[in-house]
């Protein structure tokens, strides 16, 4: 697959899944990343300027040391040999110490300041991305798996942290050392400097070769490790099925092959460095030998002093050491820019269900829901709901039945504004849902689904999730009302029991009861139950149903259920088929008739036997 060279196909997170990007798209993506980077750096302009000043000072002090040593040898020693005092020498030694201390202090200041700026940027980036993910609509999260969210907020953010923490420092120091050293050499002796700097173009060419090669191996490494990760995570989350179906040997085979590919990619990377680093060293050492020869010859003819020769040898050492940093820097830079590309893509995604600019006021919702010519379809998909008009008076309990794919869940998601209609509008008490701010909407409409997600923490904390200011008594009362109190009270720590990883220490039915109590405590005007009782055993379901009669008495409710037992408490039944309402009326009347619901009901009664 490749992104079209025209259009907006590259926008948002789309480019993440592409194997090949056209040059134009890569350019656009790079611009986007740079914009984000600029955005993040802008508040720190002053700090950055200060950093540059500090590091220039630091490098200057560092560079001065070999020079001062040379001066010491040339100017400090001869007077003493002539029988003079060590005065000059003392001055020079003092200067060396001063330079060393200056370098140390500025270095420390640099590390601290750059560390702080880096951490500030990271914190800002973390907050921004996290908040944006939470803001993005459900339709986004349905496509963008949780695994990807997690890797954006962990490994990608860490890649940028790595760049900020060590990469930049290394590069800046290396470049300054390179430039400063060259300047010092020219200052000391132009002739000898030309010899010493002659290999520089060669070095630059060599570095460019390395950069190209490393960007290829880097990409290969990322690709192979991604496959290792996907396979690993999948087999660990599905380990129950893996073990039950003896999948281990085949899994091991696949994993070892992927791991081998990853190894090969790493091998290429390491071998590339194995050529590059000694190559740099070779160029450096040959230069040192040439300087020794030429400088020795010059010294022989008194064209340079011994001190200058010594300084040259010292500087050349410094000149080639930082190349190591540069090779490291490329990897850090590449992973950071890949990360930046993805993060900027996420931030570019617009929530499909956006908050209104000028929210309408709805201090207290009565719970009247109206669908006006509502049409819904997924992008590029056939209509799920072609055109729906529906009036749900406040306080009514409506059951929705129909086969899988009839559009029941879509209906629920439209009322709770997880989706927005493509056409038409959904109204709550006469206000378009799109005009309500999030707080008002969520206070009024709550949906309980089959997947009862519990957060790690205690049972009480989970029940309180929808209304954090509820008292302990209210929490217990909610649990009691829904029939969850008995099992919670029987637990060793009662309401303070930790639910464990994603509620893993509780059975599906127990989780569902807690989720019910949570929704009940939130006390919404409109309550939507989407298959919310499917994991309960019959006695619990009966308890919940009995509770529902009281709970739903004064609020609007939409109940979606496969099991018709739930339907019995409804004032009204809606039978859906292919996104349309095919039957609508009180349950008794529909049962008495000869329609779909009557048939379903008969089949269900028989199944109870």
């Amino acid at each position: 697959m490749s992104v079209e060279a025209t259009g907006d196909g590259w926008r948002g997170v789309a480019a993440e899944e592409q194997d090949h990007l056209s040059d134009r798209v890569s350019l656009l993506l790079r611009t986007r990343s740079r914009r984000l980077l600029g955005d993040l750096l802008r508040p720190h302009r002053r700090g950055m300027a200060l950093l540059v000043a500090i590091i220039v000072l630091s490098s200057a002090a560092g560079l001065a040391i070999p020079y001062l040593v040379a001066v010491g040898i040339d100017d400090g020693i001869p007077p003493m040999l002539r029988g003079g005092g060590p005065g000059t020498l003392f001055v020079i030694v003092a200067a060396v110490v001063a330079a060393a201390l200056t370098q140390a202090l500025t270095r420390q200041a640099f590390l601290r300041l750059s560390g702080r700026i880096g951490q500030d940027i990271l914190l800002e980036l973390r907050r921004r991305v996290f908040d944006h993910f939470q803001r993005l609509s459900l339709s986004f999260h349905e496509k963008y798996t949780s695994g990807r969210v997690i890797s954006r907020l962990t490994s990608d953010v860490e890649a940028i942290a790595e760049l900020l923490a060590s990469g930049l420092d290394g590069l800046v120091t290396a470049v300054l050392t390179l430039v400063g050293t060259a300047a010092m050499l020219l200052l000391l002796d132009a002739h000898l400097a030309v010899v010493a700097l002659l290999p520089l173009p060669l070095l630059l060419l060599f570095t460019r070769w390395f950069r190209r090669g490393s960007s290829v191996t880097y990409r290969r490494t990322r690709e192979t490790v991604a496959l290792v990760i996907v396979h690993f995570v999948e087999s660990m989350t599905g380990i129950r099925a893996v073990q039950a179906f003896r999948r281990e040997p085949r899994n091991q085979e696949i994993f070892e092959r992927l791991n081998q590919d990853y190894r090969d990619a790493n091998m290429r990377g390491m071998r590339l460095v194995a050529v590059f680093m000694p190559g740099v060293k070779l160029i450096g050492n040959v230069t040192v030998a040439a300087v020794l020869l030429y400088g020795g010859w010059l010294a022989l003819h008194d064209a340079v002093t011994v001190g200058v020769l010594a300084a040259f040898l010292l500087y050349l050492r410094q000149f080639y050491e930082p190349m190591q940093e540069i090779s490291q820097f490329y990897n850090t830079l590449q992973s950071a820019s890949a990360a930046l590309e993805k993060l900027s893509g996420v931030l570019e995604e617009e929530p499909a269900v956006a908050e209104p600019r000028h929210p309408a006021a709805l201090p207290y919702a009565k719970g009247a829901v109206r669908f006006e010519a509502v049409e819904f379809a997924y992008p590029d998909g056939p209509p799920i709901i072609p055109a729906l008009d529906l009036e749900l008076p406040a306080g009514q309990t409506m059951a929705v039945v129909g086969t899988t794919g009839a559009g029941k869940t879509t209906l629920a998601k439209l009322i709770s504004r997880f989706y927005d209609p493509v056409d038409g509008r959904v109204l709550l008490d006469g206000v378009d849902l799109r005009d309500l701010d999030e707080a008002a909407l969520r206070r009024s409409v709550v949906m309980v689904t089959q997947e009862n997600f519990l957060f790690s923490g205690t049972i009480a904390e989970n029940i309180r999730f929808g209304r954090p200011d509820a008292t302990d008594e209210e929490v217990v009362a909610a649990a009691r009302a829904i029939g969850a109190h008995a099992f919670v009270a029987a637990l060793p720590d009662g309401y303070d029991t930790q639910v464990g990883k994603r509620g893993g220490r509780m059975s599906a039915g127990q989780r569902q009861l807690v989720a019910f109590a949570r929704a009940f405590l939130a006390d919404p005007a409109v309550l939507i139950l989407d298959e919310a009782t499917s994991s309960l055993d019959v006695p619990s379901e009966r308890l919940v149903q009995r509770a529902l009669r009281t709970i739903l008495a004064d609020r609007t409710a939409v109940i979606i259920a496969h099991r018709l037992s739930t339907v019995e408490i409804a004032d009204r039944v809606l039978v859906m088929e292919g996104g349309r309402v095919v039957e609508d009326g009180p349950p008794q009347r529909l049962i008495a008739g000869a329609g779909r619901f009557a048939r379903l009901h008969r089949a269900w009664v028989e199944s109870l036997a």
């Binding site: 040391i65 010491g72 400090g76 003493m80 020498l89 030694v93 201390l101 270095r107 590390l111 601290r112 560390g115 990271l122 914190l123 973390r126 908040d131 939470q134 999260h141 997690i150 962990t154 690993f232 995570v233 660990m236 380990i239 129950r240 099925a241 039950a244 179906f245 003896r246 091991q252 994993f255 190894r263 790493n266 071998r271 194995a274 000694p278 190559g279 060293k281 070779l282 050492n285 040959v286 030998a289 020794l292 020795g296 022989l300 050492r317 050491e321 899988t404 689904t449 997947e451 957060f455 999730f465 599906a508 127990q510 499917s534 055993d537 019959v538 006695p539 009966r542 089949a603 199944s607």
Partner: protein, 558 residues
């Protein structure tokens, strides 16, 4: 590899000595003829050093990467063997970071850190020895400068360990929170709690921020200290060396060589800090990996195989208790399932039904009594043998990122097309043929998404395809609508006719698949019998299954 490393250092140390010879020899005495050979010697040494470095780096890639790859393979193999109990407690993200980040940290340290550490120490000692031999008073001074470095490194290391572990832990907490809020995004949205969640995240991120800053401050102090020491030493060498030259105890060439050598020490000493930090992190990583590798798989296969399985299943006084739990989940369970018979397990939420079924394929092990298949204790059977006799369809249908066909043949790679079709028909899952690429359509996290009901039907087809002697169905039909459920049940009846079945049931309709029903109450089986009999005789059973009991009537009875 090590030979190349040592020779490389030797070459690096010798080069300044040649410089000394040039300054003290040809330059001092105006001996032009000696210049060229010495210069060429320096060249040869330089080339040799580069060549040796290349050899070292090139040859070290294979063993270091080989080690990393081997450990990762082992880790994966080990994790696949560890029982469900282990996996229930460990987030897969935690395991992943061990298999990737931690192993890479170890690799970097081994490929880079250890070598540099050894080389640095080697270089430091050799250079010091050379310096001592050149002019011992100055050499002693340089050697002495190592003392504060060693003392401070020690102190720094302890604090650095503490703080980097704290950063790691806090980052772990942050990652866990991210994971939870990504998985629970529907719930967060349903209750409009975005701001609350963001505030919690901010708190955790702020913690990481503060600890990271503390870490930066600590290392900035230490790293700068490491830079100051060699530079101050250099100044001292210059001072005392110059005085010595002035006094005629030292030649100028020796002083130049001396300062060059001392300057050569700056990098090894400075990098010591980084390497020590790296070593620390590698140690922590190694601890984390070993923690997993050292977990003993409590469930290990025996040696026996069931040659001709008949499917005779017996629970003999079975008990199960989570470690540290007060009350057992199961106690004194006795149950016999004859070959070909199907038993339904009925019980309230949390009565231990799922645990009971997990005992058969040994996803968990009994803590009392035993489970036997055809007279063999399941713990004496080899795992492949046992698990080919028993197939399970779980309530949560797990599908992997591969083709439908591969997902179905998980338990039996040699299944024919006809067998696959039969299994799909039983599970009412022939929709699989209508997917874009039919059975070769990729599904799972990385592929096409299927509805809960579709997933359950495929998982059921997978279990039936194995044609197992013992079929365990753990509330497999919960996500199906009533009509599909009826069709699946009809087809299952044929499969269960000749296989031994253990079916967890919530609904009367599912119970009717079974010949007999076992009622599980408070972790033990209280009644076994036919559905109609239990319904008539056992009130608890009726309460659990008699869905048609009219609510009002029941309320009136209270």
């Amino acid at each position: 590899m090590w030979a190349a490393a040592v020779l490389g250092i030797a070459a690096a140390i010798l080069t300044p000595l040649v410089g000394k010879e040039i300054i003290d020899g040809p330059v001092a005495h105006g001996d032009q003829d000696a210049l060229l050979p010495l210069g060429l010697l320096a060249l040869a040494l330089g080339v040799a050093e580069a060549l040796l470095t290349f050899l070292r780096r090139w040859s070290q890639a294979a063993p270091v990467l080989g080690l990393e790859t081997a450990i990762r393979d082992d880790l994966y193999r080990h994790l696949q063997r560890l029982p469900m109990r282990f996996h229930d407690e460990w987030q897969s993200g935690q395991l992943l970071s061990r298999a990737t980040t931690d192993l890479s940290t170890i690799r970097r340290f081994l490929g880079f850190g250890v070598l540099f550490l050894v080389m640095n120490v080697l270089q430091l000692t050799t250079v010091t020895v050379v310096l001592l031999r050149m002019y011992w008073p100055l050499g002693l001074l340089v050697a002495g400068s190592a003392i504060p470095v060693i003392i401070l490194s020690n102190r720094f290391e302890k604090r650095y360990i503490r703080i980097s572990r704290q950063v790691q832990d806090e980052q772990g907490d942050l990652a866990t929170f991210v994971e939870e809020s990504a998985l629970g995004v529907r719930t967060i949205k349903a209750f409009g709690r975005r701001r609350h969640v963001a505030a919690t995240y901010d708190g955790l991120a702020g913690k990481v921020y503060r600890t990271s800053l503390e870490k930066v401050r600590l290392s900035s102090r230490f790293f700068t200290f490491l830079e100051v020491v060699p530079n101050v030493t250099l100044a001292m060498v210059l001072l005392l060396g110059a005085l010595a030259v002035g006094g005629g105890w030292l030649t100028l060439g020796t002083l130049v060589a001396f300062t060059t050598l001392v300057l050569q020490l700056v990098w090894p000493v400075t990098s010591l800090g980084y390497i020590l930090a790296m070593g620390q992190e590698a140690m922590t990583s190694a601890d984390r990996v070993v923690e997993v590798l050292d977990t003993v798989p409590e469930i290990d296969g025996g040696a026996q195989v069931v040659a001709e399985p008949r499917g005779h299943l017996r629970f003999e006084g079975v008990g199960f208790r989570f470690p540290g739990a007060e009350r057992p989940v199961l106690r004194d369970v006795w149950l016999e399932v004859e070959p070909g018979e199907t038993i339904a397990i009925v019980g309230a939420t949390g009565s231990g039904k799922t645990t009971l079924t997990a005992l058969v394929p040994r996803l968990v092990d009994v803590t009392a009594g035993r489970v036997t298949v055809d007279g063999h204790d399941v713990r004496d059977l080899s795992l492949p043998s046992l698990r080919s006799v028993v197939a399970t369809a779980f309530e949560e249908a797990t599908l992997f990122s591969m083709s439908v066909r591969e997902n179905l043949t998980l338990g039996r790679g040699d299944a024919t097309d006809e067998e696959i079709r039969a299994a799909l028909e039983i599970a009412q899952a022939t929709f699989a043929y209508d997917l874009p690429w039919g059975l070769d359509t990729r599904i799972g996290e990385q592929g096409m998404s299927l509805s809960g009901g579709q997933r359950q039907r495929l998982a059921l087809a997978r279990a039936v395809l194995g044609r197992p002697r013992i079929l365990v169905l753990d509330d497999t039909l919960s996500a199906l609508d009533v009509e599909t459920e009826a069709l699946v049940e009809e087809a299952l009846r044929a499969v269960l006719a000749d296989a031994t079945g253990l079916v967890v049931a919530h609904r009367a309709s599912t119970v009717l698949l079974a010949d007999r029903v076992a009622l599980l109450q408070d972790g033990t089986i209280t009644h076994v019998g036919r559905h109609a009999d239990l319904l008539a005789e056992v009130p608890e059973y009726r309460a659990l299954l008699a869905q048609d009991a009219d609510l009002d009537q029941e309320e009136a009875l209270r």
